[in-house]
Amino acid sequence: MNGSKWKSIGIALLLASTPLSGALAAQDVLVLARAEDPPTADPGFEISNSGYTLTYAAYERLVAYKGASTEVGPELAESWTADDAGLVWTFKIAAGHKFDDGSPVDAAAVKFSFDRLMKLKAGPSDAFPVLKEVEVVDPQTVRFHLTAPFAPFISTLAVSGAAIVNPKVMEHEKDGDMAKAWLAEHSAGSGPYRIASWERNQSIVLDRNEHYSGSQPALKQVVIRIVGDVSARRLQLTNGDADIIEQIPLDQAEALQKDASVVVESNPSMYVNYIYMNNRQPPLDDAKVRQAISYAVDYQGIIDGIMLGQAKQMRGAVPSGMWGHDPQGFQYSYDIEKAKALLAESGKGDIHLTYTFSQADPAWEPVGLALQASLAEIGVKLDLQAVADTTKRELVANGKFDMAPGAWTPDFADPYMFMNYWFDAGKMGGPGNRSFYNNSKVTGLVQEAASIVDEAKRKALYIEAQKLSTDDAPYLYIMEKNDIFARRAAVKGYVYNPMLIQVYNFGTMSKTE
């Protein structure tokens, strides 16, 4: 090393000895702190909400959820029509939308994106079970051909997997991977932002997409910092180093509410906690036993005691806020006498069950303990079995359990997401019918509802299916949870959409500090 190098090291050490200046983020930079790095940013591959934070910011879809509503409106598509059978859908693409390299979004790009999605055939492609072919009619017109009528089709076009990807990404293809490796950490969309850099496990920087067709976002940059420890995240928020923090425990959320510079966002969501009861396994194969258990749960006690009021009891399978929800639907209530009577009627005695849970959701263990206490009152013994989350999923998928808690969120805004997954006898195990519920009448109703387009008729079918299934009590309907995160009061313009948990409308948000 030469002399000047040594001198520069000396200067560096000198500089290092001056005190740290305040590190508040600039007004046009938003810092979001969360616990984990998103797995990937490839819309064809990503299935976690954490990754959706990136895919929704970087890409546009043909249609999108508008504001706080669960209904879809135009995004890339300015209009669309369907034939009477619901098999052919034609979309007109609005002019002026551009990818972040300046090339226009056209019908060929739409076809490319869906061909890629269906060829990858990873998780996101499951939203399109009947997609046969995408056809380019002219540069601004694209046509989708389905093999069977699929009522939620237009709604599925708003999901993360339906993002329109710039066909030029194929320049980054390696070993026939359809640019999967590159898209995992980069973006090639027409959304308001693009991924500028990604330091794994440290931070992701989103920059404005210079070619975005909408109005220029106020936030020049969005930085997602990965901060594993919840106390550290909280300190960053109160110190002003982070503008939004996610995954805060309920008791900490309560404490944060006292800080005037912080707003705790708590919004009703379609994230439900329910309990699968294995309908194939005696004595839970007897509807009377399941009903008895449904009456033995102290729903309000769980919501007040465990959730500190940040939830409400489910009413049927379709959550409130989604069409197809039945506000008059039957709700089981905490009634020990009725539970005892039903159990006596069933003739089953000496019942011993296991509740298999993991720590994936912090509510599952206390809910299990509450359940254990109330079931003891009707003479049912419940053992709590804690396992790793992957083990729990595997046991559930294979039907090797008595009772197990579960969480569910819809991917798109259609009762299909609940009814057809939970009750179709053809979807037992992993895919969704995790209580192994088999009622041919209900299966018929939900299948019919998925294959017709008339929304009023579909609603009637789903409500009838809910009535029948609630009576059979295949699941314990525990609660719809609030979605909670904390932001600095200076962050303005956030719009909560129950379909887009952990997804922010960065493009229309701003800071006033």
Partner: protein
């Protein structure tokens, strides 16, 4: 030569260790219930999608075949592809290992710089007030939980007085220097990036000190004990009798001999640093191997877990080898054996 006699068997041993670790981790990963395909495609994936993902990952092949492929790739330096991030595990490790090594090196440096003098003073002024203080500090270091100590420091230095940053390796808005060694402190200096150097230095102080603290306790205790032994030796008494200066006796004669048993300790300390790093990295959002392996375990990302285990075990064997070599250099008698 004696050196080749020591090194060669170790290198052969290394091969067996890697193979053994690969067999064990591979077996465990196939015994734990949990389907990697389900992790990738999502819980509610359809049977066809699961089948497709399984085929793409080669999980539909017989276990023995999967293992043969894994070992074959391993011999070519390919650790497989992470299920979670979709990146080669080797690339992930190249990204995260330097951060952990940098943190560990700084922590070891702090631990030695504080632990050795403290141990010496403690022995020289045995039972005096300095000794009491040193012993208290070392007990605290050994018994204080890393996460608790870390949070206290974050609270005091970051939240309360805003003297030091509480997370990450660099301040926001500072572009990382081009990667040469992966050590930000070194890379930034080599490129004359003083802003990055300063930021990196500030960021490493708290996690470095937290990680150093436990090891400092162990080092202090060890140095104190071996110094006390050495100070009883005849040659020290002779040196004293011949009127040599006290400082000369302590540093030139006593400490040098007291350090020999500490070499093993330093090897162990280095291993401890890797363990401690997992917790420290989580608290300080340090993007190193610790956080990587924790998230990999949470998501049952087997290729990543196996890659980490293999790299860590190679590291251990190499550290042991270095310790033995250091012994030989320090104590000529061992060279003769």
């Amino acid at each position: 030569m004696a050196i080749t006699r020591i090194i060669l068997p170790r290198l052969i041993l290394l091969l067996f260790v890697v193979l053994g670790v690969a067999v064990i981790t591979f077996t465990i990963s196939h015994l734990i219930p949990g389907d990697p395909a389900r992790m990738i495609a999502g819980d509610r994936a359809s049977a066809e999608t699961l089948e497709n993902v399984r085929r793409n990952l080669g999980l539909d092949r017989p276990v023995v075949e999967q293992f043969t492929i894994y070992i074959g790739n391993l011999l070519q330096g390919d650790l497989g592809t992470s299920l979670r991030t979709n990146r080669p595990v080797a690339a992930d490790i190249r990204t995260f290992l330097p951060a952990t090594l940098e943190l560990g090196t700084v922590a070891l440096f702090i631990a030695i710089c504080l632990g050795v003098p403290l141990g010496v003073l403690s022995a020289v002024y045995k039972d005096g007030p300095i000794d009491q203080v040193a012993r208290t500090v070392s007990v605290c270091g050994i018994s204080m939980p890393v996460f608790w100590f870390g949070l206290i420091l974050i609270y005091v230095f970051y939240a309360k007085f805003q003297i030091l940053p509480g997370s990450g390796r660099l301040a926001m808005g500072i572009v990382a220097p081009e990667r040469i060694t992966g050590f930000l402190l070194i890379d930034s200096l080599l490129q004359g990036r003083f802003d990055a150097f300063r930021s990196a230095l500030y960021h490493i102080i708290l996690p470095g000190f937290v990680l150093a603290f436990a090891n400092m306790g162990v080092i202090t205790r060890q140095i104190r004990a071996s110094m006390l032994d050495v100070l009883q030796e005849d040659y020290i008494r002779t040196a004293r009798a011949s009127g040599l200066r006290k400082g000369m006796i302590i540093f030139n004669y006593a400490l040098r001999n007291a350090l020999i048993p500490s070499i093993t300790l330093l090897g162990l300390a280095l291993g401890d640093l890797l363990y401690g790093a997992v917790l420290t990295e989580t608290i300080f959002a340090w993007p190193g191997m610790g956080t990587y392996v924790v998230t990999s375990i949470q998501t049952l990302d087997f290729p990543a877990i196996m890659g980490f285990t293999i790299v860590a075990s190679v590291g251990y064997v190499l550290i042991n080898l270095l310790v033995d070599l250091a012994y030989m250099l320090a104590d000529p008698q061992i060279r003769e054996v």
